[in-house]
Symmetry: C2
């Protein structure tokens, strides 16, 4: 039975994987929820490869994020089972493994350092493969591949199927999904009390801001350090499909469950410029062909553009940032992987007023005083305590 | 008033620019004509840049073809005026000029040789420009451009508008346009008497084979030395448009009258493989970006594939090849430029039994005995005399 309250407990801004996972988990916890989605064509999840790979983006300085991502991967099968059961649809979870390769001597050095970090510092389940071993596992790889890091537990999911399933599960739990572009937050007495879209205001006990790359465009009492990082991808059709996720320093090649192959992705600071450019395509193909020479004969079907929601340190922003306002955004390249974990954390925050320990390093108040001489501005990012949402 | 004879004087196989120009000119000369077009999506004209440039493809050994092309360009304005008046529509004829540039020392040497040929041997109206002069005329060109050949008289036309106008003019003259894929020629007493498409036969006084790259796929008493040469192009959108046709050794960049920019074209021996490949796109972009660096920011809209109809010497095949059968194909990269000239020649042949002197070198009988040890096969290419078509 669908409940459609005039004033939901929670209004979620953003109907991508993060916003929907939060909405669904809040509904399961007994809240009433309305999701407002602007249906941006360049939302990051629409071009995401759906890689669940804690290793693949790891770097020094991001150890806490890798640990969070490792736990997120460990918990994914349970999330998938629960979601697929509730939505009665499959989301294409497959444990395909990933292989990060070095194509030249420079990349080899960087790969060795990354292996040290992953294996020795973070104890991830990864193996070092020689070039010939890489090609044994994936014959599409170029003879120039010098070595690789194999992460057998890495998995993939179909982001479009994931979002469709989350929408269905949200609806089945009585959540309301609305197409609306939120312009600003409604305030009263220093507290966020709802959202505004055009002439309309929706009041809510708590507002969750999960608007991805657009999180910073919504007029709000706090300024969010979130920007869009443009990524271009190419969709290809191949006769011989890669059996796992292949990645070099610059690109990845990935097979979707639909059979389509994706070559991604550029990393561009271009604001909200949604152009699929000749230069972006060239850059992807140049490195893609170096890694997988047979790609030369593959059909180039389409180019796509997405905006990754990104904070200055490439890590997510999860937590309360003003009374009545919880933020869950800036997942950069890890939105699909971190969606279930983020949703759990937000439910915990809304229900108990605190975040799980693994998520605590990612509250927005890490931008509060560090490197910020402007005290006024930094105070605007203060994080007060949050109680349970008001019920109406 | 439309006349729709059961047995037209002429059946034209192929509704591209060559077939339609022939049909229209034959209708003007008083013949009844039916055009049968398979509407191939990869017909060469669909991806053609519509360059009218006798100089741009000139090479040693192709002097006769360049002279024919020069005459074709000289006669184009009269053809355009007549066609636009009859069809009451414009076909985008613009005298934009072309600039062939050298991007490195090797290309510079080749360009110098070509300039000698064009200027001194063929007396074409071309000028040698230094690199800085090239960039003055076209600021989009890279600083690496070392020199260029400027052909101010070169023009362009919109191939789609041309075909639309020819279809309209053909209809207005009472020609019948039919969508049909011709499988074979109907024969009687050693003479071609019509065409077969599926279970249907259309009898005609004369059959004109203008089926482009598919000319060799139609079962016929003669074997035509025509093959498809695959060309891939990219459609781009740019803010600053090139003011003229730009060409290096490998690619050309061209602005359509619609404002779309085309980067073309690969030259591939792949049979009828219509795949737009990653490798083709990469090859075009690599050289395109070398010539016009600003292209990097242009929008890559779409890839296209066309099949150039090509004889072993890259020159057209125009003439009678069996009693009742006239061929007009193998125009390779010059179909748009040579369409009016070819049509005039075919009308002359059908009316007077002979070809204009400039076209005479391009009859199919140049393949009759030369380099052909197989006498049986060469005799199948014999060219008997052709009288006026029978009227029914």
């Amino acid at each position: 039975m669908t409940r459609r309250p005039r004033r939901p407990d929670v209004a979620v801004i953003g109907g991508g994987p993060i916003g929907l996972a939060i909405a669904w988990r809040l509904l399961r916890a007994g809240c009433t929820v309305t999701v407002l989605d602007a249906e941006e064509p360049e939302a990051a999840w629409r071009v995401s490869a759906g890689m669940l790979s804690p290793a693949i983006e790891a770097d020094y300085g991001q150890e806490q994020l890798v640990l969070l991502a490792r736990e997120a991967l460990a918990g994914y099968p349970a999330f998938v089972a629960m979601l697929e059961a509730e939505a009665a649809t499959a989301i294409g979870f497959r444990r395909v493994g990933s292989l990060s390769v070095a194509l030249d001597r420079d990349q080899l050095e960087a790969l060795r350092r990354r292996f040290q970090l992953l294996r020795q510092a973070l104890r991830l389940d990864v193996a070092w493969l020689r070039g010939s071993e890489c090609r044994e596992r994936e014959p599409l790889l170029s003879p120039r591949v010098a070595a690789g890091i194999h992460a057998p537990a890495d998995a993939q999911v179909d982001p479009r199927a994931l979002v469709a399933a989350l929408r269905e599960a949200t609806r089945r739990r009585g959540g309301l999904l609305r197409r609306a572009r939120v312009d600003s937050l409604a305030m009263a007495g220093g507290r966020v009390i709802g959202v505004r879209s055009g002439a309309e205001t929706l009041l809510a006990g708590t507002v969750v801001l999960a608007a991805g790359a657009w999180a910073g465009t919504i007029a709000s009492p706090v300024e969010l350090p979130v920007r869009p990082v443009k990524g271009q991808i190419l969709r290809l059709r191949a006769e011989a499909l890669p059996s796992m996720l292949l990645q070099s320093e610059q690109v990845y090649v990935f097979r979707r469950s639909s059979g389509e192959v994706v070559l991604g992705a550029t990393v561009e600071e271009q604001g909200f410029d949604s152009t699929a450019t000749a230069g972006g395509t060239f850059q992807l193909l140049e490195e893609g062909l170096r890694m997988v020479p047979a790609m030369s004969e593959w059909t180039l079907a389409e180019a796509g553009v997405g905006f990754r929601p990104t904070a200055p340190d490439n890590a997510p922003l999860i937590g309360e940032i003003a009374p009545g306002l919880v933020v869950a955004c800036a997942h950069h390249r890890n939105g699909i992987l971190l969606a279930p974990t983020t949703a759990e954390a937000v439910v915990r925050l809304v229900e108990h007023g605190q975040l799980p320990a693994l998520v605590a390093p990612f509250t927005p108040d890490r931008y509060r005083s560090r490197h910020d001489p402007d005290r006024d501005r930094s105070q605007r990012l203060a994080v007060p305590a949050l109680g349970r949402p008001e019920r109406h």
